[in-house]
Amino acid sequence: MVRKEYSSKRTYPQDLLRNLPPKQEGKSERNADFSAFALSLQGASHVSTQVPCQDYSDIRILNGCGVVIGGIADGVGSCPLSHWGAYIAVCEALDYVEERIRSHEAALGDEALYEVLNGAFKHAERMVAQAADAASQAVRNLQSTLTVALYDGSNLYCCHVGDDGVVAQQQNGIVKLATNRLKGEEASSVYPLQTGRWEITKVRNAVAGFVMATDGVLDAFAMMYPDYNNINYSNRIYYPFMEPALYGMTDKKVPDAAKKTLDFYRKYLESPGYRGKVTDDLTFVAVTSPAVLEKSVHPEFSVDTWNAIEREHERKKAEALGYSIPQGSSVLEALPDTVPEYPVRERAAEPVMSSVRRRDGLPSAREQTKKKSDRKSPNDRTFLLLIATGILLAVLIAVLAFFGLRYFRQHDKAGETGSLNEEWLKKETEIQTMTDAENSSKIGNLLKASDSDVIRETEEELTKFPESK
């Protein structure tokens, strides 16, 4: 089936320097199946330096398709037009995904969705480059991260590049990162969309809801450091941050629960307490299926346990780095004797269709090889069948040739052919006679003797025949 080429329906101003993109000041949506909100706020550092918010986000419930999609992007700080890059990337990627799903060009299976998400990122990258070109700007001036999530009430697919992230709450009560933090070695480095290094992941277990955040928010509740003392508590996710975002939207008595939850988070992220700790731009998206969430296992989390583990971590870290800890500091409090084990220990996302991608978004050679070896394609089966058939035919031809040659040589040899044939025929007759008259053990013995005789004679013939010439 030939897919119609997708073309963008959006236009962008030619003078990107003098114009600003629309802001995402807060959007909430709700239908019978889903509830979601998106929010992007200018960070305190950008307010003081009068730099526009370089984050953008959006959510869309695709009514009639049973799917909700969300997108977030964080413009690279050092790029002067990255607010446009983030806006264009999110809009174009979501437009693409929406169009492909609504057109029912493919069933919503893993393979089809991989193609849709991959295509969305390629399209978004292309559109950012076109907008830069039209504005006579270098593409690097519009660099941003990009994360898109697609959720059908159970399955969660993510396509992602950069240091943003998606945190999923599974129906079994496990909370975990659904994406990997794609960034360089240093704190301030990140892989933008333009590196082509996006990953596509799918959460293995059924999902009840998820949140998406740029690093300004994600770093606050999704810790980056590894397990400590083999204690992986809550997969390093500080659950109290995201809990209200999902459960706040499940209140059936409140028709605009999604909007109220959005307002709650806006107020929180604008509070002096939060802004005193985080001055970066802030983006937070939350999506849930309220009916599914209500029936799912509620994640377990204890703030006291978290704090105790953190204190121990801080103490060990300070010792290793040579920092002194003031006497009486809470960091010096001992770890409790027992730390409750987290129900199931799960690592961060393992890309399902992923790893380093070529710049054009096509799978790398390694992925193509892996895909081929993993898939049992009809062509592979046919090829194996042909090989097997060829081998069988070769064996059959060899056997026929062997007996044919023996027969031919028996008939061709002057003076001996007749006697050999007679002997051979006699033996054959004996076999047949014996078969008719004797029991199976005698028949077996006779056949074995006949076989030995036949083989020996044939060998002698082959040796002698050339000499006689």
Binding site: E185, A187, S188, P244
Partner: protein, 228 residues
């Protein structure tokens, strides 16, 4: 609706959001030619460096400093320590100029510090190497490998390199250690260069206080320091 929301914001995020560290190595020439006024200026500069860092709360907790001196050998005067624990050494001059070996030692020290950061999951900014010399290296047998490793680290964005020549330093030789052989080299008089250490600590403070929301730039250079 309200009973699903926390009553206050205090418990919504952890108490300690991870801070980002920056490792800084100072490679300082204490060869014989530094005798007299230059070594005194150097010692004062190292003290100013510590004082300036101590005044910035964020830098005190997030900047990690190491001082390596070089003459006929290479000495780690101050192994990596938090800026809050930094005590300026008192250095004396004498001997040759094993600058190449000092650079190699500095690169090793930075790698070890980064490995420590990684093992504790501590995010970090690109480390800095600040080199101060009044001459040129005498350990020429190490020059090729040193330049190779240093340029690999700079081009691979593993480290920021700030060389500074004072007095009769061979500026052209110093430039050959920078990217493309024509990178930035600072120059100052051998009698007045301690301000460079104030600049250095100010730049480190800028880094530790950055949010990552915009590019981090070093502080403005004091007037007695020339950029070549």
């Amino acid at each position: 609706m309200e009973d699903r929301m926390p009553l206050n914001y205090e418990d919504m995020i952890p108490q300690n959001i991870g801070e980002k560290h920056v490792a800084c190595v100072l490679l300082v020439d204490i060869s014989g030619s530094m005798n007299g006024r230059p070594i005194a200026e150097l010692n004062e500069g190292l003290q100013e460096f510590g004082r300036a860092l101590a005044q910035d709360g964020q830098a005190r907790g997030c900047a990690d400093v190491c001082i390596i001196s070089f003459n006929s050998g290479v000495q780690t005067e101050v192994p990596f320590c938090p800026a809050s624990n930094y005590m300026a050494p008192q250095l004396s001059a004498g001997g040759l100029t094993c600058m190449n070996q000092a650079i190699l030692e500095g690169l090793n020290a930075i790698e070890e510090r980064k490995n420590l950061y990684k093992s504790y999951g501590i995010p970090y900014f690109r480390p800095w190497i600040f080199l101060l010399t009044d001459g040129e290296p005498t350990d020429v047998e190490h020059e090729r490998i040193t330049k190779q490793k240093l340029l690999d680290a700079v081009r691979g964005r593993k480290v920021n390199f700030f060389p500074m020549g004072i007095g009769n330093a061979n500026i052209a030789k110093l430039k050959s250690y920078t990217a493309d052989g024509n990178g930035m080299v600072m120059k100052a008089s051998e009698r007045e260069f301690k301000e460079a250490f104030v600049w250095l600590s100010s730049s480190i403070s800028t880094v530790t206080n950055s949010t990552g929301a915009s590019a981090v730039q070093p502080s403005q250079m004091p007037p007695m320091i020339e950029i070549l």
